[in-house]
Symmetry: C2
Subunit: 145 residues, 2 copies
DNA sequence: ACTAAGATTGAGATATAATCTCAATGGAGA
DNA sequence: TCTCCATTGAGATTATATCTCAATCTTAGT
């Protein structure tokens, strides 16, 4: 069991819940991939690997993972909700290609700072944000279009 | 008929389409409100006013309005898709209150500029973006919580 | 005015994503 | 062992949006 799964186990048990095989299975699958993944995709993957985790359990476990802070839920717009693990992954935002669907990450600390200021000016207490830039990625502009 | 509806009529007809009573009805309802509104809400509103515009027509007309540039479709996250008219409404982003659901608007030109730079660095050609900040609005923090 | 071609419409079917229900299962402590 | 309650999966349900298609308009041509 890897370090992140262990942290999840600790989180689960610290809440007096059970670290079941189903939960472990979902967690390890999430931690195993370095890509953004959506819930249905994850479910299909697990099924194809012989896991018996149901849709309900997958969604419930993803909620727990997000709660634990080990996983982040990202809304990419256009109905795309994906998850990514946070370990070794500082905050970033996303560039979403409208042609091939690929997603690049970028960091811009000053944008984060400006958001704080905007919130102060508006007397708004921020807890999080979502910034997606839509357009065409390198591969989709050099080839054609 | 107001100025925006007239512009919509021009757009519709310039495409060789018909400016039907149903389309006019939907357009005028959108232009009449200064709030963000979602499609189902709009449909319900129209029904309650005796309009016979169907769900299909409401959605189809909203697509046309967005196409025309007179209306913008905004993804507020958490499954909230809303529309707002663009006239006299320069580009802005949104502060979404997680408690009362209210939405404030803000402008931060420097954020826009930094986004451009981030795209250049990544060889990404942007066509648009979505920035939502989630948290608690003034009313929801002064009272309590 | 008549007609044919094509645009538009509404009712309801369908798609999709996510959540909910609830009976069966199973672990943990008394 | 017994009881309690967390957990689970199958399937129902919800919510939102899109699609289908027959009936109805509009328009242009005659
Ligand atoms: Mn990411
Ligand atoms: Mn707005
Ligand atoms: Zn691309
Ligand atoms: Zn509020």
């Amino acid at each position: 069991m890897n370090s992140e799964s262990l942290q999840f186990k600790n989180y689960i048990e610290s809440k007096g819940l059970l670290f079941t095989p189903e939960r472990q299975c979902v967690a390890e699958e999430v931690f195993a991939s370095h890509n953004h993944m959506d819930a249905e995709e994850l479910l299909k993957h697990l099924k194809s690997k012989g896991s018996k985790a149901s849709r309900a359990t997958v969604y419930r476990t993803l909620d727990l993972l997000v709660e634990s802070g080990l996983v982040k839920k990202i809304d990419l717009g256009e109905g795309r909700l994906v998850y990514e693990h946070t370990a070794g992954h500082p905050h970033h935002d996303h560039l979403v290609c409208l042609k091939c669907g690929s997603v690049q990450e970028f960091e811009e600390p000053l944008i984060e700072q400006l958001q704080e200021w905007a919130c102060e000016k508006a007397n708004f207490k921020p807890t999080g944000h979502s910034l997606n830039i839509y357009g065409y990625c390198r591969g989709c502009t050099t080839g054609k279009r």
